[in-house]
């Protein structure tokens, strides 16, 4: 059992997650405006290298905002299922993005919230290793962020 876990863990670590915060913000294409409703930002979902990420940069760095909260366990035993809730008390939260700074592809999910839908989403995500979860919230054309570190015992990247 212990051996199996170690093998899994090595494998997860070997997948070589990582890019860093700069890349994350670039990957989402914050510089672009007028993206159509619900259009998939393929580039953001596929961004893996720093070059690619830097290429997309040209953007506002989102401000930290205490109105955004990330609820997640301090330590996740299994990185394949990390329960998280993102809550935004910002008025009229239009979009929520969930990112993990050390996953092979950092953008996990993008939620469009029509008028009347609360700025709160609960889901489960994969984390390859101990990393920061970053929540971005878009409202009134601006991005705000919050982040939270989660320690991962068994990586769930693959």
């Amino acid at each position: 059992m212990g051996q199996a876990i170690n093998r899994e863990r090595r494998k997860a670590l070997k997948t070589g997650c990582g890019l860093g915060l700069l890349g994350i913000f670039a990957a989402i294409g914050l510089g672009r405006s007028g993206a159509a409703w619900a259009e998939r930002n393929v580039r953001a979902f596929e961004a893996k290298t720093m070059d690619e990420a830097l290429d997309a940069l040209g953007a506002i760095i989102p401000e930290n905002n205490a109105a955004i909260q990330i609820t997640a366990p301090e330590t996740a035993e299994n990185g394949a299922f990390v329960p998280i809730t993102i809550t935004s008390d910002l008025p009229r939260t239009e979009e929520i993005f969930i990112l993990v700074d050390k996953n092979p592809t950092m953008l996990v999910a993008h939620f469009n919230l029509p008028e009347g839908t609360e700025g709160a989403i609960t889901t489960r995500i994969k984390m390859g290793q101990t990393a920061s979860i970053i929540a971005l919230v878009k409202t009134g054309g601006k991005f705000y962020r919050a982040s939270r570190e989660v320690k991962v015992v068994l990586g769930g990247c693959s």
Partner: protein, 103 residues
């Protein structure tokens, strides 16, 4: 055609809370199968939730969403007996549409 979606929707203090459990392997394309070859990526890319015919949640997923994706959210309004529908599509052209009523 994908596996059934479990949907629970209930009215709470002027809101409808929706809980969704989709059955999907969410393969990243980075996992090796028994043969030692990489298992091709197969994951949900898009989820749309409607209340009657109005979209109340519109999601784009990457490979980082866990196997059997689970979602909880709330929207204003909604009454018992009204319709909630959930649609997903994956990167391989598979999809599923499921309906439930608010309880």
């Amino acid at each position: 055609m994908g596996s059934p979606i479990k949907i629970r929707a209930s009215v709470k203090e002027g809101y409808t809370e929706v809980r969704i459990l989709m059955q999907h392997e969410m393969e990243t394309g980075r996992r090796k199968g028994e043969s030692g070859n990489l298992v091709p990526a197969k994951y949900i890319t898009e989820v749309k939730v409607r209340h009657n015919d109005r979209i109340v949640l519109d999601c784009q997923f990457g490979t980082g969403v866990s196997k059997d994706p689970y979602l909880v959210f709330r929207f204003k309004g909604g009454k018992q007996g009204e319709k909630i529908s959930v649609y997903w599509a994956d990167n391989k052209g598979d999809n599923r549409l499921e309906e439930a009523v608010i309880g």
